[in-house]
Symmetry: C2
Subunit: 149 residues, 2 copies
DNA sequence: GAATAAATGAGATTCATTCTCAACAAGGAC
DNA sequence: GTCCTTGTTGAGAATGAATCTCATTTATTC
């Protein structure tokens, strides 16, 4: 399965930094990849408890930056004053359309604008590592709802 | 001067909501437009004190959402766990290139990708109100510095 | 099997932001 | 004018996500 792959990636990443893939880290990693949508630290912590993994919230918070740096997850947005992440292993990067009314998040491809961003980065000699492209407004659902009131 | 213009805009916006352009709000508005770069709530508060405006931090925090909603400022990024804003009256919208090492922020035009975003919004019947397009990495300065070490 | 370095949980701490509340204005109705 | 409603403010308390501390445990090396 794919499981081995992300584990290998993380394990190698950690080794390169002189760190180890411990049980808590493995459990956090698995929890992250068991989710197929956005999550924040607290939600991830809940998933871990449901899976009977004895990992503290502190360790969750400590592991997130490592996962970010390894490239396995990305910081995808900030919602309700919480940092929201998603795993991006296998996924292509995408834009987020965030409804300010119902909070729903939908995604679209970045293909059309990626070449432009890359060219722009090259022109400035900027080394692009990460980015967040979030678009806020009203989804069609909420737009219609508001109209009918 | 331009001063009247943003004041009028804000005043009208407030009136539409049954609110008034009070002295503290006027002072905050002027402080915002006296700045020509990004700022957070605390920095804005400092500017107000320097200008001898007796405005509390609470009022600064209360006024920022109003300025946002009026379209006079935008939430441009989050840096060091603080929300960073900038006024956008007269300015065209832009992308932010944020260096993770030195914290510098540079801007480039959105012209090339805006049509795509608008088309994509139309296709989904999404009413676009606001967006943040932030690109993180290393600026050329820090990239060179790292190389020379 | 020391010695060194990394990891962890639990709880305390930080700090940006929001909330509460009492006091104060402004404007309309009469 | 006076009453009444509604908006506004400052000061400080409260919130809560994220980080830090520290004592303890675990792994690795020599």
């Amino acid at each position: 399965m794919q499981e081995q792959e992300y584990e290998q990636i993380f394990s190698r990443f950690l080794a390169k930094k002189g760190l180890r893939l411990t049980l808590p880290r493995k459990q956090i990693l698995d929890a992250v990849f068991s989710l197929h949508s956005h999550f924040d630290a607290e939600q991830l912590f809940d998933v871990l408890r449901i899976r009977n993994a004895e990992v503290s919230l502190a360790t969750v918070y400590r592991t997130l930056p490592l996962l970010l740096e390894s490239g396995l997850i990305q910081h995808s947005m900030r919602q309700e004053s919480r940092d929201v992440y998603e795993h991006i292993f296998g996924h292509p990067r995408h834009l987020h359309w965030i409804c300010r009314q119902c909070g729903s998040v939908s995604e679209t491809s970045l293909d059309d604008i990626m070449p432009y961003l890359e060219r722009s980065a090259r022109e400035q000699h900027f080394e692009l590592e990460d980015f967040s492209l979030n678009l806020m407004g009203l989804c069609w659902r909420c737009k219609n709802e508001n109209r009918n009131q």
